[in-house]
Amino acid sequence: MATHSAAEPLWKYQHLAWRAGFGIDRQTLLQWQSKSVKHVVKTLLRQHSSTPTMLQTEEGRQLREQLPSLSRRFLQLTADEKKQLQKLQREGVKNLNLAWLQEMSTTPDFLREKMVLFWHGHFACRVPNVLHNEQMLQVIRENALGNFGTLLVAVSKSPAMLQFLNNQQNRKQHPNENFAREVMELFTMGRGHYTEQDVKEGARAFTGWGFNAAGDFVFRKNLHDDGVKQFLGKTGRFTGDDILQILLEQRATSYHVTEKLYRFLVNDEPDAHQVQILADHFYDSGYDIPALLERIFTSEHFYEPQNIGARIKSPVELMVGMQRMISVTYPNPNIWLLFQRSLEQVLFYPPNVGGWPGGKSWIDSSSLMLRLRLPQVLYAGSVWNIRPKAMPDEIMDEDLQMQPATGSAEEQQRVRDYIMHAIGSRMQATVQWDDYLQQFHDVAEAQLGVEIAQLLFVNTPQHVDMNRLSEYVDHSSRERFIQSLTIQLMSTPEYQVC
């Protein structure tokens, strides 16, 4: 890159851009480089708007309108009406998925959306209800860069989570322990810091927490067990709110959440000593998320060599990173769901309550080869001839007709070829090359290769040998050279890490 009076080396900014966001374009990178890393981090944490506009879907809007009459007639609905309703809900979740993916791919507030992606995995939840998903996503988006305690309480009271973890079935004399268990095991302390008895007592405190047809949290006093509970060494007539506060008082909560965030932002393999230091500060700050992020992103440790390129991008990070660099649009945006499903990270459909395990679990022989072929598909019209696994609780199969009629193998193959042709044909993708090409307008011919590699890769010293690539790149024009080299570089293992 052209050297301005660089405050610090370029790779630091590149590393920060991938961890605090989804990569960076050349112009922004050069702007960043004229300031210190500390200054850039402070600006990132300050510049986001505190109340993001809610992401809503057309299906959600229709359902909201119908809600009063639906809840009145719910018991009288015919089987057909119920089926239509389910379809509308699922269609909505699908479109919410696409709307959020689009938001991540275009927003200037990338740090927030990156954190929302983290909390979306931390508070893993899978409900076939678009309104509940919209509400929970918004709660997370409003608090992703706020206070963890506030976020925890808001998510715990969201209908999506109460439904997913069966707290509607948790009532006096018939406790259901699922909610209390997951709150302790996954959201706060983590395994090994509480007893089965604590789970039972916690479950009693959460009795009566529920939501009404409008999707508002309600506390049903007559279902609540208001007896004395013994929880983590304390005794009292605890309510659900008390339990969450007691959990926040535990240092184990700070450690567990910090460790998870460390895996997401710093390294798939946590450094226990570093996590402890960060967790103590997080606890002492009263769970202030921006303060924790500032500490991470400005620490010397964050920029140590073992942490550069140490994370395998999740499928969503990979796709959003590519979209932000060179945007592609399809007339049928469902293809983004097909990619998510083939690479096994579908937003709003985490694999289980634990969220996506991340790290090396993203990679197996098939998924790696698919990832390496993705740039060819997005930018060079290759066909994606992959049929992802069925999702039984899902309607996407119907929409994409991914489940061909059970006929002869030949017939199935025909249907399959047709689908692949329909959603993967090169006629349909529109690639916005202009902005991308424009970024290199001031770069001399001889420098192009290096500049492009520096923009796409974080671990510059180790990347693929550029001389080897020469015969795989189109030298017929400057434009073709940039395009083909970019696609080839994105098709490497180096581009899979950040």
Partner: protein, 400 residues
């Protein structure tokens, strides 16, 4: 062959010295696939929750007929096996296997605290976890972890006939290979650009993740080559039905016959999620399953391999005893499993029919933990340390 050697070297990461690994690689090219008597497991996943009560039918039980006024299979159509139970008419071909001692049926297989969600229950079956526990590795994947250090092509040890890999096939160290068709896989991975970048010398530095990806990539390309080269050695001429499961079973047979070292094959058939209008859907899928299994078994018998191969069918859950209002059934709990092989020690129906009188909220109680079935197969069929793979000891069953 030279190319293969060179890529074998590339596979060596920064964690091992080349000298240490060379002899094993060289040996790898000489050794035959399966040694004498080594057993093969073929898992068929019935996705979506197959209705077990209409699979193995309690055709003498009044409660069954009372609970399913439209859905119960009439006595006259049931393919009788024992005095109490028989098969769905579309599974007619299995009767011959039953009479030959090549079929074992387990009733009421499940697990404590059953989960009625597709995705969670499938997770439990594929990872062999408890209901309350979330595991990130699959049981076949952990079998690879336990058995494969030192295998020349670890991922070829377990093959899933599909485009993508199920969680069941993912271990901590090793994962199986997803392949629909060796030729297709070979074409997809045989990309000169990929071969070119793999020539990059492995850099021993802190970027172990990149290193790891290069290793997976090299391993995948070399497995794809190996599979393609081996599969070409055998021309499959068995008669298989023209269905997806038929083609998949044919692929499995041809890989077995080609002498691949693969110990576990994994296939799926579905969807059995029959909330609405169950009968035609189940009928159609069962006919496909029946015909594919029969063709596979005849093919293997012809080549005298059926005593070394066992098919195991499973589903994430069975369905509610009573039918619903849409001529279908809703999510349930315990279910039947088939074990099909020429090498069974005990055959026929191995335990009592499900108890329809004593239900848990309208669903069956389980009698056999599915992890006992896994443990039995891991220990007695695949000669692996089941306790290490499953995390605790389960009582073995006696079908092998």
């Amino acid at each position: 062959m030279l190319i293969l050697h060179r890529r074998e070297f590339l596979k060596i990461g920064s964690l091992a010295t080349a000298a240490m690994l060379v002899p094993r690689f060289l040996k790898a090219f000489e050794q035959p696939g399966l040694s004498e008597g080594q057993k093969v497991l073929v898992i068929i996943q019935l996705s979506g929750g197959n209705d077990g009560l209409n699979t193995v039918i309690p055709y003498r039980n009044d409660i069954y007929y009372a609970s399913r006024p439209q859905l119960a299979i009439p006595k006259t159509q049931v393919v009788g096996l024992t005095d109490e139970q028989g098969l769905h008419p579309a599974l007619e071909g299995l009767k011959e296997l039953y009479e030959n001692g090549e079929l074992a049926i387990l009733n009421s297989v499940g697990y404590p605290n059953p989960d009625r969600s597709h995705f969670r229950s499938m997770d439990i079956w594929q990872t062999a976890s408890d209901s309350q526990q979330v595991l990130t590795t699959g049981w076949v994947g952990r079998y690879l972890d336990a058995q494969c250090s030192g295998c020349p092509h670890p991922s070829v040890q377990a093959i899933e006939v599909d485009d993508t890999l199920s969680k069941a096939m993912k271990g901590a160290q090793y994962t199986g290979l997803a392949v629909h068709d060796p030729t297709q896989l070979h074409r997809a991975s045989d990309d000169p650009f990929f071969r070119e970048i793999l020539k990059k010398p492995v850099v021993d530095d802190d970027h172990l993740q990149v290193d790891y990806l290069y290793k997976v990539m090299a391993e995948t390309l070399s497995s794809a080559d190996y599979l393609y080269d081996q599969a070409r050695l055998y021309h499959e001429d068995g008669q298989y039905p023209d269905t997806q499961i038929g083609k998949d079973m044919k692929t499995v047979a041809s890989l077995i016959m080609a002498g691949l070292p693969t110990r576990v094959y994994y296939l799926s058939l579905g969807s059995f999620d029959t909330h609405v209008n169950q009968q035609p859907q189940q009928q159609r899928l069962f006919k496909q399953l029946n015909d594919a299994i029969l063709a596979f078994r005849n093919d293997l018998k012809k080549h005298n391999r059926f005593q070394d191969v066992m098919i195991m069918t499973f589903s994430e859950f069975g369905r509610r005893v009573s039918q619903n209002a849409s001529a279908g059934t809703d999510h349930g709990t315990a279910n039947c499993m088939f074990l099909i092989s020429g090498g069974l020690k005990r055959q026929g129906v191995l335990n009592a029919p499900p108890d329809l009188q004593n239900l848990d909220q309208g669903d069956l109680h389980y009698e056999i933990d599915f992890k006992q079935v896994y443990a039995t197969i891991l220990n007695k069929w695949l000669e692996a340390n089941d306790q290490l793979i499953l995390g605790k000891n389960y009582t073995y069953l006696d079908f092998i």
